[in-house]
């Protein structure tokens, strides 16, 4: 039962107000993509043990999607941020680095 703060309306949401959307920063592969790229887009996910970037929708609330950086082991939340971005912003990366010095970084 997580609590995540929606960056769109600043509400500290109960998990039951949210809808999960899986891994963040997956880029869409369209009709011109090869089989490997399409498989990557549709099926292959990182599922890391540790730092993870996820999509959530504030479904019982403002209705907006946002991203969260979270540790899948301890459930520590490093921050939430806009869904309108292709990669985690620097302040989130800094927050993770401060808490997880050994983290390999976003790739």
């Amino acid at each position: 039962m997580l609590t995540l703060t929606c960056p769109c309306c600043n509400i500290a949401c109960d998990e039951t107000e949210l809808h999960p959307g899986g891994q963040a920063h997956v880029s869409r592969a369209g009709p011109d993509s090869g089989d490997d790229a399409f498989e990557q887009y549709l099926f292959l996910r990182k599922n890391p043990r540790g730092v993870h970037f996820e999509r959530w929708r504030h479904a019982m609330g403002c209705g907006k999607w946002f991203h969260a950086a979270r540790c899948t082991v301890t459930l520590e939340v490093f921050g939430t941020y806009s869904a309108q971005t292709l990669e985690p912003p620097q302040d989130i990366l800094d927050a993770i680095a401060a808490r997880r010095p050994d983290w390999q970084g976003f790739a």
Binding site: M1, L2, F38, L42, W65, T74, L75, E76, V77
Partner: protein
Amino acid sequence: MSTRLATGGRLIDRGAPRRFTFNGKALRGFQGDTLASALLAGDQMLVGRSFKYHRPRGIVASGAEEPNALVNLGLSDRFEPNQRVTTTELFEGLTATSQNHWPSLDFDIGAINTHLSRFLPAGFYYKMFIHPRSFWKHVYEPVIRKSAGLGQAPSERDADRYEHLHARFDLVVVGGGIAGLQAARIAAEGGQSILLMEQTAHWGGRAPVDGDEIDGQPAQAWIDATIAALEAMPNVTLRLRCMGAGVYDHGYLLAYERLADHQPQADMPRHRLWRIRAGRIVTATGAIERPLSFAGNDIPGVMLASAVRDFIVNYAVSPGDRVVVVTNNDDAYRTALAVKRAGLDVPCIIDARPAGGGALMEQARQQGIRVETGKGIAAVQGGKRVTGITLCQQAGEGAVIDSIDCDVVAMSGGWSPVVHLWSHCGGKLTWDDPRACFIPDPNRPPTGADGSAFVASAGAASGALTAAEALADAARAIDPTKSASAAQAAPSDEAPLMPVWIMPHGAGAKLRAKMWLDFQNDVKVSDVQLAAQEGYESVEHAKRYTTLGMATDQGKLSNINGLAVLSGALAAPIPQVGTTTFRPPYTPISMGAIAGEARGEIFQPLRRSPMHQWHAENHAHWEPVGHWRRPYCYRRPGESIEGAVSREVNATRDSLGLLDASTLGKILVKGPDAGRFVDMMYTNMMSNLAPGKCRYGLMCSENGFLMDDGVVARIDDDTWLCHTTTGGAEHVHAHMEEFLQTEWWDWKVYTANLTEQYAQIAVVGPKARAVLERLGGMDLSKDSLPFMHWTEGTLAGLPVRVFRISFSGELSFEIAVPAGHGRALWDRLLEAGAEFNVTPYGTEALHIMRAEKGFIMIGDETDGTVIPQDLNLNWAISKKKDDFIGKRAHQRSHMQDPTRWKLVGLETLDGSVLPDGAYATASGTNANGQKHTQGRVTSTYHSPTLGHGIAMGLVLNGPDRMGEVLDFPRTDGTIVQARITDPVFFDKDGAKQNV
């Protein structure tokens, strides 16, 4: 025998007698009694039978850890099994019956199992019932199920109500003993919001029973003063009868408040489940005394030393006249002294420690009590009640050196901190060697959203067992700097405990087979040793193999003893063996509390259309569609369901039908990029739809599978109105928003889900236009509103949007009106349609009419694995568009496979209705010996229009096999044959809808 003492009893009110019955026997107790103390006062020591051997079982404990004394409580719609008598407060008229015996508690035929016990060792069920395989389902399981279980399941609907309560506190203190009070008191000074809860009906825990002094005054005085101070603070919430049930991620805490268990006739919720978000949690949950493992330790009359003390001090109940105390620590001496103070006899204190105890032992000796050090109990004598014990050397093998008559054995094997809540969310434990117990490891606490600790333990729950230690520990848990100014107790002079896991240490097999670890599930020392011998080295495996700690008490008494025996058998230290996982809830909570308000009418939301009330008043036979209830048909008095459906179809095809289509999704899509966007959402081209026109569209998931369908209307230059299926409205809207927010966030498009803004009525049949003309206000002629066009106007004075679309093959108009006018429009249509035999129809008639026309239905023809091409819908897949959701997936090799099953019509040769979901068989069998298949039925009906069965199905190379006959086996083994046909069964040219 057990009886009520003439004086004393700090918790009972002798001026308030309470009558109750146990197994029909009328008994009396007092206000303030628990059912346990009242039963003991009535000499009812035998209260149940154990699970496996049906051994006689008496009350062992005085609190939540009680494993034996479970009863059926209440009657009829307030009946509940497996209620612990030690946590059940007595009230007037309480009725209880014992469980797990037949024919009676005193004479239980199942007790024969105890004589068969050597044939029923650990793992017996696994070993015995595995062969022959087929016997499990038909012989073993039914028999085992009958003999298993404790109480009976209630047969009536629960009369009580329950509720949830969401709350937030900066700090929640779980446990209202002196440590919890100390923690709350110190923390409250800081002004933060605090909830302090206590699972029993009294504050203060054990301290008043133990005779502790705090800040120089009796514990009770300090407790009263502290509660009074806390009650006066606006930032503090206090709750008695409220148990911390579970600790979860990010400070989530469930608490279980028992509001009306002790006053069952009160008009209030019986239980309340608190769903708390806590900034910080302090677990001041105390400790539970451990039994000792000696032969016959399960005979009624063998009790925890602390429980004997509780019954005497709190309830003035003497469990027996002659109490032998057996211990490995000093605390049990307090029981001996309490027994003595009550004027009862303590024939002997048996202390396993060679040197005995400290100051308390001296006090006992001064009282003239015989103390035997370095000794143990060889065996307890008695059947349904203790009659005596035999004494032996603890270090030896059990040679009897003396016999002592007694009717109670008060045992203490030391104390185990209640670490459950600490452990629920990842808090780790460490082994405390001097006190021989697991304690919370403050270096490895549960961590919250910010990565820091959010649980701290306080008092006995940390292993701080004396009042002085507990108060100091609680102060430390809140603020180490305030320890000096916090309440204090004088340190007590106690000798160290000596771990004793088996008594006597060298007991042979015969004695070990009579040493109970788990009293409820009948797990003995010998069972755990057998499990270890058979290779169950992991504690989790040994637990499941022996069922140790798997009873309703979840091993609160027995786990540590069991672990220690296992570690002894494995010759590994206890911390290395570890503990089993502590899972919530701490003690069982009611199903009602979990459900909360969600029962009866509000079990789940029921969505009602604006015309719902009319449907209900007109014999609607309901069909659930998502959370909606839609009329399946309107069943007139005396009419069969099939008859009603046929009548509705025929009336619609012949004259005029009405369908409540309000549940269909209606999503507005607007913006400069809206055309581009709907082109991505649909497989068809939607951007080139002219304003005023409608087009049927298909929506795929990114997997390429057909997800939804519906009619799209172009409202104006930059606005489209997308209709979805009833079940798809929310999902499709979310799907659109997801792509707009997370993929094409630079596109200028807004959406709005208007599903509930409009009531929508399908006016269908040859007289559809005529009835609308009667309502007046709009020209709906063929020329001014051709097929697949829409227009706005006024009908019967109501603002409407009229779509000329058809899902039945009939002349058909769908009228959208603001929902607040829905019922009015429906009523006008019924009035105006009377002369045309207007007939409201339900979803089944809708389905039949669409199937007669070969129109697919999402959820029938599609199941999440079907692509539009399978349904011959290639015409609705644009070849001009570079991209749409699902396009890339359609290029995958499996989607291009020419052998994918394709949609066809099916007509049985005998006119019957094909079974839904039936498979068409092919020649040969697969590796499992099952027949090969070559198709399946996706929807099937009796067509009232055609007078025979019609179906649609997906068939291998179907469209190329027109006229071929397929075999469809029924579940009874018979076969029905059907011919492959065109899926359009009726009015192929569309003559009826284009009028």
